[in-house]
């Protein structure tokens, strides 16, 4: 379990990193926190010719409000998300999600940009940025472009990034008044990849959803923004409507079978999460009881 030999370059600036990526193309891998990349290399599942280490690029680190947009640098570590007052105030969903990401040792090294660029369909942060309607900022040889989170994830470990681009930041719109969040996942053990998970952002007024974004994960090849949520917006939610929406949800899902769960189990768990989420967001515990005894 030793990585095959590889070259290593420590980027001195974003420009320098982009130059290196331009030279090496898909023979290079960007090293951020290394929490997924290094195990894959040690298992020889990946053997890049060169690692471009962006770990020293302070310009990519940090959390700041810019107007009503929260900007999170790509190198911001999970532990920083967990502890940041700006995150707690403006995007508590990220904080809640990160506490489910692996374990402290991994959260101390792993970065939000690395997690999003890795695009594991069972990981938490991709679903969060989809639910938060965030924008991914990428920089390439020809400049910067902004990609909606909903357009960013293309499949298992696949994103809209091209090999010569670097993910530099995440922009999260902050809604403020009335917005509320929900995060929960079912994992075999705390810190494991989810069997099914849900990151949600809602705007609730007078007991109704005026907005509801449900980002499911581990239910397909990428995070899923559930269209079924639309059935509950500006509607009076009752068990019948909830059941109808849950049925619509299962039709949207295309879950994989793996060692933790069959596709049927994932569908089932997604509907349980869905009901529990809606009940929690509306503070109506009675909506949780959906399964006939």
């Amino acid at each position: 379990m030793k990585a095959a030999a590889f070259a290593y370059a420590r980027a001195t600036s974003v420009v320098n990193a982009l130059e290196l990526l331009a030279v090496h193309g898909d023979k290079a891998k960007v090293l951020s926190g290394g929490q997924s990349l290094m195990p894959a290399m040690n298992l020889r599942l990946l053997s890049p010719e060169i690692l471009v280490d962006i770990g020293g690029l302070a310009e990519l680190r940090g959390i700041a409000m810019r107007g009503d947009v929260l900007v999170v640098g790509a190198l911001t570590r999970h532990v920083d998300l967990l502890r940041s007052p700006e995150i707690a105030l403006n995007a508590p969903l990220l904080r809640d999600a990160v506490s489910h990401v692996a374990h402290p040792a991994i959260r101390n090294r792993g970065t939000i940009g690395g997690s999003l660029a890795h695009a594991d369909p069972a990981s938490e942060l991709p679903a969060c940025v989809v639910a938060l309607d965030a924008t991914i900022v990428a920089r390439g040889p020809t400049g910067e472009r902004r990609i909606a989170a909903t357009e960013f994830f293309k499949g298992i470990y696949e994103t809209a990034l091209s090999p010569d681009e670097l993910l530099v930041a995440i922009e999260v719109p902050v809604i403020g008044q009335g917005s509320t969040f929900f995060f929960q996942e079912y994992a075999r053990r705390h810190g494991d990849y989810a069997v099914v998970g849900l990151a949600a952002r809602a705007v609730v007024a007078a007991g109704r959803f005026s907005d509801l974004r449900l980002g499911f994960f581990a239910v397909g090849d990428r995070p899923l923004l559930a269209a079924a949520a639309g059935k509950l917006i500006n509607a009076s939610v009752n068990p019948g409507l909830l059941a109808e929406a849950a049925t619509a949800l299962t039709n949207e899902l295309d879950p994989q079978e793996d060692q933790q769960a069959t596709a049927a189990m994932r569908r089932h768990l997604a509907t349980v999460l869905f009901r529990r989420c809606v009940a929690a967001l509306l503070a109506r515990p009675e909506l949780e009881m959906g399964v006939a005894k």
Partner: protein
């Protein structure tokens, strides 16, 4: 922790002044380990040391048509590439059988496969290079031409005529079969309610923190092989290595310093370790093998892959009238060497029904070959199977007749005053304490209050369950385990103690340390017996050149057997010291004692002479001693149990948990254990051994499983997919004790290492079924995954 001591009739040697016995004292090796000064084989570097990596078969069963290593051989850093055929000239194959397991058969196994591979992960070639990375680079350039053969993977069809026979010379895939018929089961069947179930156990493994590791160093000039290995049984390794390398045992030294966990995984002889010894001899230089995590999953022994059909007969008054089992287990392609892979099934037959009175018991166990990794003894061998089957059946019987699970046990457990007695399978019990243990458990958990809480919560759609599991545990094995079957595995252990020239004590013991506290308990016993403070006792273990001959640490034997040897050796040295002291002080040995590192008057404790002064006189001024006095400040004693083949212990566990009936996830809320291991030497070490064992049992209950596909591929050989229990999911584990010392030794200690593992899964399974009772679901399969639970509830 609560400890119940029986009233002491007389003071024993354990009650000496300032005794460390029964006290929680820190382990002497803690500072060394915590300061990073442990000496693990993985860290060992020797001059000219090479590293070996094994190319392993990707197929479960295949013929090796050709191996092309030409390119790899020319790669930078490569020292040698060796195939099974080439290594055959250095090391002979072996067959893992024991003569007392009648009919047990297996085929010759080679250090590296010759012509044919029989499981995915079997070594096909060894790549020896200057570093592990260089060897792995070269490995990618070896081309092996395999002709795939049909793989036998399902134990249920392994004996079918249509299934290929893995070893043609054996005639069939049946490794071992044992039947037992005691009492009158047929009569019981005819006159009782009968409940039947099939219990399915997931194959799992030990997952030691430090993987298997060995450095073999053949010194051609001395014609001597030094093996540095993380093993539980150094003398066994010495014997086997010598036997198969054509050496005398005196030509092999086995050194075992710190070991990063063993759990029975490291008590066996593995093919890749044998290959490493042979490679060192072949290449005349030190060779290091450290298994990586994937290799560990594919080659460390697996265990517990059983399907056991069980029946229990019960009368309406709760009297259990019979147990019957039919156990089937698949052990991989070879019976493991030298302890064999029939022991677990044999143990299941021995132990089912063991805590209960009924004399009627019928059993069959069949052990079959298959093309998967080898199975063998792992912590609590057979016990979790036997306990889960027995206790699962008892709960089913209780449900059938509408009796409380605690009450049916009360009515059927062997009475505490019925000993000595024997089980229907012939196990001899010296003194067990099932009833006092159960009573203590129910009191610790406040059973009635918990039942009330459970009922109240059900009304709120919260489903919690209580599960109880009584168990017996085999500890302190005599020669009956292996010696009688012809294996050169010692069941006796020896301890040598000597006083040094400044009055400190050096102690060499043949038991080994893998974190259990062998060093601590030895120092506690020796210090107590000698009247020497523990900081003056230095314990050496794990070196065949420098310890007495003995078995090592496995089967919960270190404290009971090695501890008694330490006690007797220290007593002998004490007598010798007092003889000299009497001569120096013109007193009598009986008139003197040793307390706090000095000789005192036995009668009034007045200090007479420091041990350091006595040692000075003996070693440097023997001319001043009276004529005829020949001091012997070293003593050696060995011990092995003779009266009972095993010192059985007993205990009972309980689990309290919640099942989310919509998601199938189980939350463990609390776990209780009451255990009777006889004399407790160090309460904290005993309790933590039990907790660790419980956690491994909880892993089996909820998480751990080696998942093979139908082609014999292990599909979750990594720490992300093979789920070990982690602290976040573990409940508080409360431990209580009942103490029934064994009379076979002065120490009275029985084993405690496996009790936790023996009953934990059974308690959890019973609790899950208790929680699911309102839904009419019963599950007799572990691990109890959300998928299994949701399926049973009909949710998916």
């Amino acid at each position: 922790m609560t400890v119940t001591h029986p009233p002491a009739e007389t003071l024993s040697v354990l009650d000496r002044p300032n005794s460390y016995i029964g006290k929680t004292v820190p382990r002497p090796n803690l500072d060394r380990l915590l300061q990073g000064r442990g000496q693990y084989v993985s860290d060992l570097e020797l001059p000219r040391m090479a590293h070996v990596v094994f190319l392993r078969s990707p197929h479960a069963h295949a013929r090796i048509a050709a191996i092309d290593a030409d390119t790899a051989r020319r790669m930078s850093g490569v020292i040698a590439i060796v195939t099974g055929r080439e290594l055959e000239a250095v090391i002979t194959p072996w067959v893992g059988v024991l003569s007392h397991l009648k009919g047990l058969k297996s085929a010759p196994q080679h250090a590296i496969a010759v012509d044919r591979v029989c499981w995915q992960g079997e070594a096909v070639a060894a790549i020896v290079a200057i570093s592990r990375a260089a060897a792995e680079d070269a490995m990618e350039h070896i081309a092996v031409d395999y002709e795939e053969l049909a793989a036998v993977t399902d134990m249920r069809t392994a004996l079918d005529p249509a299934t290929p026979v893995i070893h043609a010379s054996l005639g069939d895939n049946l490794a071992f079969e044992r039947t037992l018929d005691a009492g009158d089961v047929d009569h019981a069947l005819s006159e009782s309610e009968v409940v039947e179930a099939e219990f399915v156990f997931g194959r799992h493994t030990g997952v030691t923190l430090e993987p298997r590791a060995v450095v073999a160093d053949w010194n051609a000039a001395e014609a001597r092989l030094t093996i540095y290995q993380g093993t539980q049984a150094p003398h066994m390794v010495q014997n086997i290595a010598a036997l198969h390398l054509g050496l005398r045992e005196a030509q092999v030294r086995v050194v075992c310093k710190d070991v990063g966990g063993s759990f029975g995984i490291k008590v066996h002889i593995y093919a890749d370790e044998m290959a490493t010894y042979a490679l060192s001899k072949l290449l005349r230089r030190p060779v290091k093998f450290v298994a990586d995590r994937i290799e560990s999953f594919n080659t460390d022994i697996h265990a517990r892959d059983h399907r056991c059909r069980g029946r229990i007969c019960v009368r309406p008054d709760g009297t259990i009238t019979a147990f019957e089992i039919d156990d089937l287990t698949g052990i991989g392609p070879y019976s493991m060497y030298p302890r064999t892979s029939a022991i677990e099934a044999n143990q299941v037959v021995n132990l089912v029904g063991g805590p209960y009175v009924t004399p009627n018991y019928r059993a069959r166990a069949r052990v079959v070959f298959q093309n998967k990794n080898v199975m063998c003894q792992y912590r609590a061998v057979g016990h979790p199977i036997a306990c889960s089957v027995t206790e699962g059946l008892v709960d089913l019987a209780a449900a059938k007749i509408g009796m409380d699970p605690a009450e049916i046990r009360r009515r059927n457990l062997i009475a505490d005053d019925a000993y000595p007695c024997a089980s229907p399978s012939g196990m001899k019990f010296e003194q067990l304490s099932h009833h006092s243990s159960l009573a203590k458990l129910l009191q610790m958990m406040d059973y009635d209050a918990l039942r009330a809480e459970q009922a109240a919560l059900r009304a709120q759609n919260v489903y919690r369950g209580i599960g109880i599991a009584s168990f017996i545990e085999v500890t302190n094995p005599s020669a009956a385990f292996y010696g009688v079957g012809g294996a050169k595995i010692s069941s006796q252990d020896g301890v040598a103690v000597r006083l040094d020239a400044q009055g400190s004590v050096i102690c060499q013991t043949s038991i080994t340390e893998q974190g259990q506290g062998s060093e601590a308990l030895t120092a506690q016993i020796v210090g107590s017996m000698l009247g020497v403070s523990m900081d003056r006792v230095r314990v050496t273990l794990g070196d065949t050149d420098n310890t007495p001959y003995g078995g090592g640490t496995w089967a919960s034997r270190g404290a009971g057997i090695g501890g008694e040897a330490a006690l007797q050796a220290a007593k002998a040295l004490r007598r010798n010291i007092l003889d000299v002291a009497a001569a120096i002080l013109q007193s009598t040995p009986a008139g003197l004692d040793i307390v706090d590192n000095r000789i005192v008057n036995a009668a009034d404790s007045v200090s007479r002479i420091e041990l350091s002064e006595l040692a000075r006189i003996v070693y440097f001024r023997p001319d001043t001693l009276p004529p005829g006095i020949r001091p012997e400040l070293m003593a050696t004693r060995h011990f092995v149990p003779r009266q009972y083949p095993f010192a059985f212990t007993n205990g009972v566990q309980a689990s309290w948990l919640e099942v989310d009936n919509e998601t199938g996830f189980v939350t463990l809320l609390k776990h209780w254990v009451v255990e009777d291991c006889g004399t407790i030497i160090n309460p904290q070490l005993v309790d933590e051994q039990i907790r660790g064992g419980v956690v491994q049992g909880l892993g089996a209950a909820l998480f751990e499983k080696c998942i093979y596909d139908e082609r014999g591929q292990l599909t979750n050989a990594n720490m992300a997919d093979y789920l070990v229990p982690m602290s976040g999911e573990m409940p508080d584990i409360e431990i209580g004790h009942v103490v029934s010392p064994t009379q076979e030794s002065e120490l009275g200690a029985k084993g405690a290492g496996e009790a936790g593992t023996a009953g934990a899964a059974a308690a959890v399974a019973n609790a899950v079924n208790d929680a699911l009772r309102p839904f009419g679901a019963t599950i007799t399969e572990i691990p109890l995954t959300p998928q299994v639970i949701l399926t049973s509830l009909g949710r998916i």
